[in-house]
Symmetry: C2
Subunit: 173 residues, 2 copies
């Protein structure tokens, strides 16, 4: 006897403070930097905690070519990587949506949080953080993804929200 | 008694084959991939050999904000990281130039090679590969950089071409 109830998620602007329970925002705004290359570059160092060593893992650099989703979007499935972080950085200036829940048992629907990036931000999901698969908007976009490779990988868990209707709305204009 | 002699480098289109002695080209063209996220993304896995573990190193994710250079450019200084690879991926569709020499003793000027990317490619310099600092063109560009962090880092060597004039020309149109 499951109860079907509706819940609407409205994406909020992504900030490092709001995202801290879920991982890192990869961005340069208001971050320390130093001049290198004889003045031809500013280096913003160590923007994400890459956590991939568990059980013989190594860092993988990948590209995900994402197709856009349409909003509102029904959130049916969340995933997490219990052994590693996973970072996503868009390869063009491109806002996208993230839906996350804290690491641990699958979060209740009302504990999920949704964010919209400002077009220059990437995210790094901390190990075990629940997250929705990529939600690109408007047009296809490539993302550079840094995650973990290991032989005999078993680093993916899913949770389905079968008894609950969760709808991701468009961010406020 | 040094001899000053001129040498001109003309960037060639970057291909995986031509770049193989120096590292990886990070790109999706003609690479294997698999469909994930219920059809909403294609995953191109493991596009660069990230080699950062030496002497307690860990992967760093950084952003370099690069200022454009003007061509022709005098190549005076090359650098290498003897303990690690270093990957550069532009965060907008943006051609840039790379000048490289094989790992080992500092290469003679006539052993340097120059390449121009197609705007969607990144590069990963293999450990010890000599390379010129970032050469962005036209406008400022951010690059995602994956390299190595370690306490008491001593992972940078330079070579100056003092007795030789080396000039990097623009790629052929």
């Amino acid at each position: 006897m499951t109860t079907l109830s509706g819940l609407r998620l409205r994406p909020m602007p992504l900030t490092r403070t709001a995202f801290a329970p879920f991982g890192d925002v990869i961005e340069t705004e208001d971050r320390p930097h130093r001049t290198i290359n004889d003045g031809y570059a500013e280096r913003y160092s160590d923007l994400a905690r890459i956590d991939v060593d568990e059980q013989g893992g190594r860092p993988l650099v990948n590209i995900f070519a994402a197709k856009p989703r349409r909003l509102p979007l029904r959130i049916e499935l969340m995933e997490r990587h219990p052994l590693s972080s996973q970072a996503f950085v868009p390869l063009s200036r491109f806002p996208f949506l993230v839906v996350v829940g804290r690491a641990g048992e699958a979060p209740r629907a009302d504990a999920l949080r949704a964010f919209v990036t400002n077009g220059r931000q990437g995210v790094n999901y901390a190990r075990g953080t629940w997250h929705h698969p990529l939600i690109a908007l408007g047009e296809p976009c490539d993302f550079l993804v840094v995650d973990r490779g290991a032989p005999g990988d078993d680093n993916e868990e899913f949770h389905r929200y079968d008894d609950q209707e969760i709808v991701l709305d468009a961010p406020r204009a």
